[in-house]
Symmetry: C2
Subunit: 687 residues, 2 copies
Amino acid sequence: MTHKEIESHCDVLIVGAGPAGLMAARMLAEFVRQQPELKVRIIDKRSTKIYNGQADGLQCRTIESLQNLGLAGKILAEANDMCTIALYNPDENGVIHRTGRIPDTLPGISRYRQVVLHQGRIERHFLDSIDEVSGGRIQVERPLIPETLEIDESKVEDPDAYPVTVRLRYMSEEESTPVQFGHKTENGLFRSNLQTVEEEDAAYRLPPGAEAGMYETVHCKYVIGCDGGHSWVRRTLGFQMVGEQTDYIWGVLDAVPASNFPDIRSRCAIHSTDSGSIMIIPREKGLVRFYVQLQERAEQGQRVNRTKFTPEVVIANAQKIFAPYSFDVSQLDWFTAYHIGQRVTDRFSKDERVFIAGDACHTHSPKAGQGMNTSMMDTYNLGWKLGLVLTGRAKRNLLKTYESERQPFAQALIDFDHRFSRLFSGKPAKDLADEMGVSMDVFKDAFVKGNKFASGTAINYDESVIVAKEGKASTVRSKKELAKYIEVGTRFPSEQVVRHSEGLPLPLGDLLVTNGAFRILCFAGNAADPTQMARLDRFAAYLDSPESVISRYTPASRKRDFAIDVITIHSNSREEIEMHDFPAPALYPKYNYDKIYADCESWHCGHGKAYEKYGIDSERGCLIVVRPDGYTALLAEIEDTKSLDEYFDTFLLQPTHALGPNTEPDWTIYAQRKKARREEALAQREL
Amino acid sequence: MTHKEIESHCDVLIVGAGPAGLMAARMLAEFVRQQPELKVRIIDKRSTKIYNGQADGLQCRTIESLQNLGLAGKILAEANDMCTIALYNPDENGVIHRTGRIPDTLPGISRYRQVVLHQGRIERHFLDSIDEVSGGRIQVERPLIPETLEIDESKVEDPDAYPVTVRLRYMSEEESTPVQFGHKTENGLFRSNLQTVEEEDAAYRLPPGAEAGMYETVHCKYVIGCDGGHSWVRRTLGFQMVGEQTDYIWGVLDAVPASNFPDIRSRCAIHSTDSGSIMIIPREKGLVRFYVQLQERAEQGQRVNRTKFTPEVVIANAQKIFAPYSFDVSQLDWFTAYHIGQRVTDRFSKDERVFIAGDACHTHSPKAGQGMNTSMMDTYNLGWKLGLVLTGRAKRNLLKTYESERQPFAQALIDFDHRFSRLFSGKPAKDLADEMGVSMDVFKDAFVKGNKFASGTAINYDESVIVAKEGKASTVRSKKELAKYIEVGTRFPSEQVVRHSEGLPLPLGDLLVTNGAFRILCFAGNAADPTQMARLDRFAAYLDSPESVISRYTPASRKRDFAIDVITIHSNSREEIEMHDFPAPALYPKYNYDKIYADCESWHCGHGKAYEKYGIDSERGCLIVVRPDGYTALLAEIEDTKSLDEYFDTFLLQPTHALGPNTEPDWTIYAQRKKARREEALAQREL
């Protein structure tokens, strides 16, 4: 039997259209929008997206990123806001009681709170956004499965080469629908880690002798493997997952419960004396997710008999743990079971040509709501770097920072989950002398601390070509004292500022739109002071000059804020200074009313006190460089344009045709007044 | 030539699919959802909805209402938030300067701020919502035009009759596209009041001898005329518009400006010495609306030559007023011109069978952003009343309150606009002795005070069968002292409360969903106090009894919260009392976690202090009845179930089959404990 064979080229092939793959596609869609000749493809072996169950938690940092991608509004409108965690523990008679409540999201760490929404809806919003941003150029192609992957190592450093060859097979609809056990309720056992690699592969294979579809040989510049815990890409590269399994097995139900348990609409952690633990995650549309520890244990090295895990078994065990409260289920939406283990790979990339991301790199228990978040944040990190390299705007050294930033975080996540899931699955200590049991004080403390980690806001990337930390051995160093409460390497935190042009209070974080641009936040300080304005004038003269990073790194025909976007935040009131007093066109571009902000009182939302919260001197200000993914990269004095040059020169590439100096005249009504002032300032500089 | 004639019946025929008509359709869609056999139709003579220009301001009270209809989120996501009003006046040399800034929305009057979004987008969201809520049963039918309307007066009080007969003509696409002057820019002159009634009618008429479509004779229970300032329904009823015209003519532009005027993104009121005034309304997508006073004056009783009003004329006059700032237009989206006048009709209804709403009842200048808002709020008021009467749940006396509530408001609006627009169009006073000129202090003061009026939050409906004010001659009286800062007759103001089941902070106003239900807000006070809980127990026993308004007025087969929804707000923390301590099922219905709220500290948004802001005693609480449209109707003591009975008996109708008493047992885990307490409380009552 012969099959049709075709051959093609593409810039990036994304394998897998789950959260990691869709985020990769969404990040690259922005570059496709800018440069429609880029060819980005995303394939999946499933014939449709998922409709029930799976991951559902969205952490603060993920929501911040979704906001900068224009996706947070729609997702939050459908999601359920979890507010409270209630802890239940058994008393001396084995009856469970609420022993405390803590906030689900630590107050103050983000402008968002953790929410839940089922993965299928989140994927739906991603698909819509990818379609819109790419102008329909990126569509998930399914069902397609890769069968071979080869890298021509001699070409990996050649920017024009297509060194990765992938052979794809087009599957029939039928074979791409995984073979299940035949339960009526939609179940996720076929994607659970209770299934082996061989079983998962078999579920998507054609039965022997069946008709198969055509093949396509794709020559790729880059490949991203987002193909899940059993990742074919990872196995093909030969990367090992390292870690260990526990013997704990948990069942999961998505259901509308019928129960008189008082905290059924709170997130809860319930430890029983002898029947195991439950975690409750209240969801959208009256649904509640129950993670229920099962009595069944996995024997090390032995296969688990999956047929034992039915919804009835999970419900029966939940009833034991909930007693004396009633528990039943009026509508069962989805169920699965899994075996707790923590594993991570130490390699995230082969030759910076093939990358793996998401569950392909790290698997762990779902209860801290980290899986989907970490997966999306992996490709949120990779996407802009790959986009800049692909479009010839950055050097390939930028790509090394994907592994150096995400692998240590994955390791930290695995370590966190290791501790956390054992506290969750362990029996409560009977008394202080019970060393084998879990102390409920220790558990509560772990939960509070864990929430900061789990929020994603605590990530602090190491020094690298794109993170200029203070005091380390590097040519470019941040001056920590310029913004005392901002940590270089962490995401730039949002505070309220007021748009000068209209008086609108808004989160500064909303300005950090994820479009591949770096941002220079020019904290202008007290701009009403002539000395300070002279400093701003000199900075503006640099920006407009042919030597500035903007003039050199912006491709010709692009707008001046395309590669590096300058946003000014002054510490004056809107009465003390006029927008037109700021240097134009550098800081106040023609007819652009969205570049100047004030840290001042607003009519309706008070004073944001951004300078105070960032620890920035409200007289002298400073410059803060923020990466396209919102992480703080560099703190510098307003005149320290040398550090700007050095920072960007390390990893950006000059386009063949650069935009060059800004030759627009000052367009504001105060142009004459400013011209005199600027000439005076420049004269002082000469002295 | 003969035409096809058909005949039909419908419950409500809405004439006109502008803001008033669409709101009427959306309000009735809820009743169609509940009772799909209801037949509601909406027709329009235009072949498509509008795409540019027209009204665009959404006031606070309108947005609150949209929120309760589930529409605010989508509309606010697209709208522009106007924050600031800047006032510009000429100095002694005739050069304009900013003389002050005020907030566009008075801080504290609403949880929303005034926004702008073009009417076409707002109509789009309404069309989607009408379709969704009515299950596709209500669709705008166009182009259709009514030609005759007759009322059979002998049948107007018969609930089963169809006393209104309307003959409709189906138009061709071509004739429903209004005849314009042929300007390339989309213009609204054909809908401006510079056009006469005859000209408007002619614009939609078939030319002589042309082919016309079929006719339909519709027998209607009710007709709502939402057919604009030149309303055919109003003219057919013979209602007069009373008022006067000024001689001021204004032009309107929607454009992306090219200007160095510093406040181009603020709402501005600019008075020039001799060239007239401008109002600036910054809009979505970089657009700005300019209201520009023209030099041309209208002669009383004379026709205005509309061909004089071109975008070029408007821009040229704007340039004079803006000088010395530059002003040009880089993209012109829409323009029109209008002649300022204020007119209102004293009748809003004929026999409570044919109603008119929106511009059909009141026309005025657009600058206070009242037109679309008042129009929508007219039918927001009428819609639920008509729905309740149509579905046999209320007596026809309810319908009289439409005219008695909306006509006085329309008159107040006309009076407000009369003063306000003369201040706007008048020349600024040269000095204190200039009595003919407008004092800029008076103008600023009028603006600040006008903003409260314009927000729509100040509406205070008179006493009626549905508004039980304190101390007036009425069988049912509110006890003002129970909620000192709440005014019966005004919309119930929203404050933050915390959902007991999960700890979520949310605006109490969000619970007042517009679904035709009245609400009894049970401010439970200090429910942790046994004496207070005994009061709640007695109130709950009433609600569950066969005599309660819920048992009597809820149709059989409906849920108990269908007609009158009871929501409990206590003043305890979530630690002082459990949800399960509240009387179930009356206040805490089975598996319903959305009925009990706390006025307490939240994790992330502080303490709402709702009791304090409402002026309610946090120990004793009270009952507050809120109408389906969110207006406060009655304040009563918790045991004053007699007032509840009397209030609802006045205008509600008992269904043939009522739901009857609540026979569900107490389902909570504390049922035993509560049973003992309740028996004790009931025993005390007997004494």
